[in-house]
């Protein structure tokens, strides 16, 4: 299949994507490709355009130019958020966003992969399988004890976990994870890395993080963005010795 004159086997393919806000170029002819079951770490200075890139992929922001192709056949720049989610792209936001008025359990329930149309939803009954899955997910994100609390009452870090749980519940093909380790202790960070590696066995994952320990932990290919385009790509060691990366990002 070809969209925009491209032929590709990549799960996600961004080509020449630019985004401009009032004259400011947040993304500048960005091209990137993620394979199926690949995990990719994205690093880059604050304001490099990492979150904006995720916005483009999930349909929140429309690029001024370029294409974003998913599974070689869907042009994401033409779809809305819900359709993109339905295609199997899930996202965790930089600042945790959960359904604050719902219980932790219901947050997971709502995220479970099911028929999303109104009428099937109206008539749906919770199955045993669903219940088990919810239990397992809650266990996984260590919120079993808080399952009946309102999500709004959770602490910052707990919300991060809950959001990861919701992401897992969607069983997406591609996970976009924006700074999952922010506000977590070192132990939790390591734990998150384990979780992501596990997920990556069955799905593709794009992780944005500033925590180099975490990124090293992941042990995957790293892309460094700068001023809206790719500055360096490769193993963490290779990227982190790149002069420019040190200069604009890591510091001395």
């Amino acid at each position: 299949m070809a969209i925009g004159g491209l032929t590709t086997n990549a799960l996600l393919y961004l080509d020449n994507v630019s985004v401009t806000f009032d004259g400011f170029r947040a993304l500048n002819a960005l091209s990137l490709s993620i394979d199926a079951q690949e995990m990719r770490a994205i690093i880059g200075p604050n304001g490099a355009g990492k979150t904006t890139m995720m916005d483009v992929i999930t349909g929140k922001t429309r690029p001024n130019q370029g294409v974003a192709v998913f599974e070689a056949s869907h042009d994401l720049t033409k779809l809305d958020e819900a359709s993109i989610a339905e295609l199997g792209i899930g996202r965790k936001f930089q600042t945790p966003t959960v359904f604050e008025m719902h219980t932790v359990e219901d947050n997971i329930l709502l995220a479970l992969k099911t028929d999303r149309r109104p009428f099937p939803t109206l008539f749906s009954k919770r199955t045993k399988a669903e219940k088990e899955r919810i239990d397992a997910l809650l266990e996984r994100v260590r919120l079993t004890g808080s399952r009946d609390r309102k999500a709004g009452e959770l602490s910052h870090g707990q919300k991060q976990w809950l959001e990861i749980g919701m992401l897992l519940a969607q069983e997406p093909k591609l996970l976009l994870v924006d700074e999952p380790a922010a506000g977590m202790t070192d132990q939790e960070t390591a734990d998150t890395a384990d979780l992501l590696r596990e997920i990556a066995k069955t799905a593709s994952v794009v992780v944005v993080e500033h925590d180099m320990v975490f990124v090293r932990d992941l042990g995957v290919k790293v892309t460094c963005l700068h001023e809206g385009s790719v500055l360096a790509e490769g193993s963490l060691d290779a990227v982190s010795t790149n002069e420019r990366v040190v200069e604009v990002y890591l510091g001395r």
């Binding site: 304001g47 870090g157 202790t185 939790e188 500033h210 604009v248």
Partner: protein
């Protein structure tokens, strides 16, 4: 400078702080450590007056401040860098910084050059709306904004969250610089252990709303504290 004694705090009927005590002295960094949800942010909310406390005492330079409104505490020199940044989204970067003028005398109403030295990116984005900044840029703005008020007590809630490594180093340098001026007491909540260890003069570790360990910087070197932060 700051002394928190036996403070309790509730959210509705759930208790987030139980008799927490901590002190912070000028020219020192006091680090608050602990896992998610143990009450670190709640402690800072108690200090800044964002949340009422239900027991205990908070004093600043000997003066009881726990009954004061947040703006009165700000006038006494308490500055707050909250978790989640809380930038004024529709104000420009410059205007965000200028909100810090409120507790100042008219003649002091200028943005200290330090701020731009520490965070040059702010200078280049003065006219952009705060809400449009990237997460890390907002974090820098939040710290810069707190500094505009020329605080005596600077309270930072996970200031490195979402910040690129080079700037974390800058922030570390900034905190050290502020500490070394010797006039400011700093309370820092931090999950990033190495960072905390590097800066802390004293620390406390919290668990379930209580202080379970405290001491000076040396104590952080052992594995003890690290252990506490693990599951």
């Amino acid at each position: 400078m700051l002394s928190v004694e036996d403070v309790s705090l509730y959210y509705g009927s759930s208790r987030a702080l139980r008799g927490v005590s901590v002190t912070a002295a000028a020219g020192e960094v006091t680090c608050v450590l602990g896992r998610n949800g143990v009450g670190k942010s709640s402690l800072l909310r108690a200090i800044t007056g964002q949340r009422p406390i239900s027991g205990g005492r908070i004093t600043l330079e000997g003066k009881e401040i726990d009954g004061l409104r947040p703006y009165d505490r700000a006038a006494l020199g308490v500055a707050y860098v909250p978790q989640g940044r809380e930038i004024f989204p529709l104000l420009t970067v410059k205007e965000n910084l200028e909100t810090g003028f409120a507790p100042l005398k008219r003649k002091d109403r200028s943005i200290p050059e330090d701020v731009f030295d520490l965070f040059p990116v702010l200078k280049s984005m003065l006219g952009r709306r705060g809400g449009d900044l990237s997460g890390g840029q907002q974090q820098q703005l939040a710290i810069g904004r707190a500094l505009v008020t020329r605080p005596k007590l600077l309270v930072l809630d996970e200031p490195t969250e979402g910040i690129q490594p080079s700037i974390i180093k800058d922030i570390g340098r900034a905190i050290r610089y502020l500490r070394d001026k010797g006039t400011m007491a700093i309370v820092l909540v931090e999950q990033y252990f190495d960072f905390a260890q590097e800066l802390a003069d004293r620390f406390i570790v919290m668990e379930r709303g209580e202080v379970v360990e405290s001491g000076d910087a040396k104590a952080l070197e052992g594995d003890d504290v690290r252990q506490r932060l693990h599951f």
